[in-house]
Amino acid sequence: MDGMTEMQDDLWEVAGRRFRSRLVVGTGRYKSLEETAASIAASGAEMVTVAVRRVNLSDASAPMLQDFVPPDRYTYLPNTAGCHTAQEAVRTLRLAREAGGWNLVKLEVLGPPPFLYPDMAATFEAAAALLADNFEVMVYCADDPVAAKRLEEMGCVAIMPLGAPIGSGMGVVNPYMIRAIKSQAKVPVLVDAGIGTASDAALAMELGCDAVLLNSAIAHSQDPVRMAVAMKHAVIAGRAAFLAGRMGRDYKADASSPMTGLIRQGS
């Protein structure tokens, strides 16, 4: 199969759902719902993360996310942001399942500021509870190959190690571990959190990840719609580079032009 044909058919699959876009985007931290909708459309993403929160009773007519990011067009991935225990995570996602009617979810249980690093003990406990309740769990986790493998063996449908702390924009700070996690995984691996700019997303894909999940890198850029376009192309480029297989690295030069047939004075 040639490269062009291969990219056309290059889908990825999680829990039986197939996607063409390898960019999953968050819907938080935008200035308005209009900006959210425009940025997500520009990103080409097919799956979006969402949070579950109390309705504002004093203003029930306020526009809702669903009016701008229609769930019949995007696969909603409800998260457990703000949950610190297995019990809270299960309670939140049961409500999400009733609101949305699906069971594909993003589990994240975070430790304290300033790093909000995944709390893995609590994550394991919550994953077990959600799996027992028939959720399909995409799990945010530490960049720890042992933890990642254990989550997969428990039945999680995707492993999502952080590139760097949430909202830090520090990029993929430990590419070696991301590659290690991917090399042993049988379910999709997504870099989730830490992406700051397009080259970070491309690097994550060049490491072989199945997809990238980001939010602040678009929402907190100076021009979110333009950055969404950049992220879309970065993920496509990184994926193509991974499939193409990069050249080897060498400490010495190797000329690109032939050294024969040169014109020379006086010979």
Binding site: G28, T49, V55, L65, P71, A96
Partner: protein, 86 residues
């Protein structure tokens, strides 16, 4: 037709229909007419049922049961929806 079964059932129903109940909705105290259902509560607030999920005393109320679920004094209700998140 349960009110035909006996006088006590009829009295309970009468009381339910003519008194008001007090319950907690998203942490706020609210009063509703006795006999009000989850569907009535959503209508009073002005929420479209298809955009929210409802929990009553820590149990999910299936959307199909909103009209049949009668609220009681002291109930703790949570009404949630999807918002932007990462």
């Amino acid at each position: 037709m349960s009110w035909l079964v006996g006088r006590s059932t009829y009295r309970d129903m009468d009381q339910a229909l003519h008194s008001r109940i007090t319950l907690s909705v998203n942490g706020e105290t609210r009063a509703l007419p006795g006999g009000a259902t989850v569907a009535d509560l959503l209508a009073e607030i002005g929420l479209a049922a298809r955009k929210v999920a409802v929990e009553r005393n820590l149990e999910i109320v299936p959307r199909s049961q909103y009209g049949a679920t009668v609220l009681a004094s002291g109930d703790t209700i949570e009404i949630v929806h999807f918002i932007g998140g990462g």
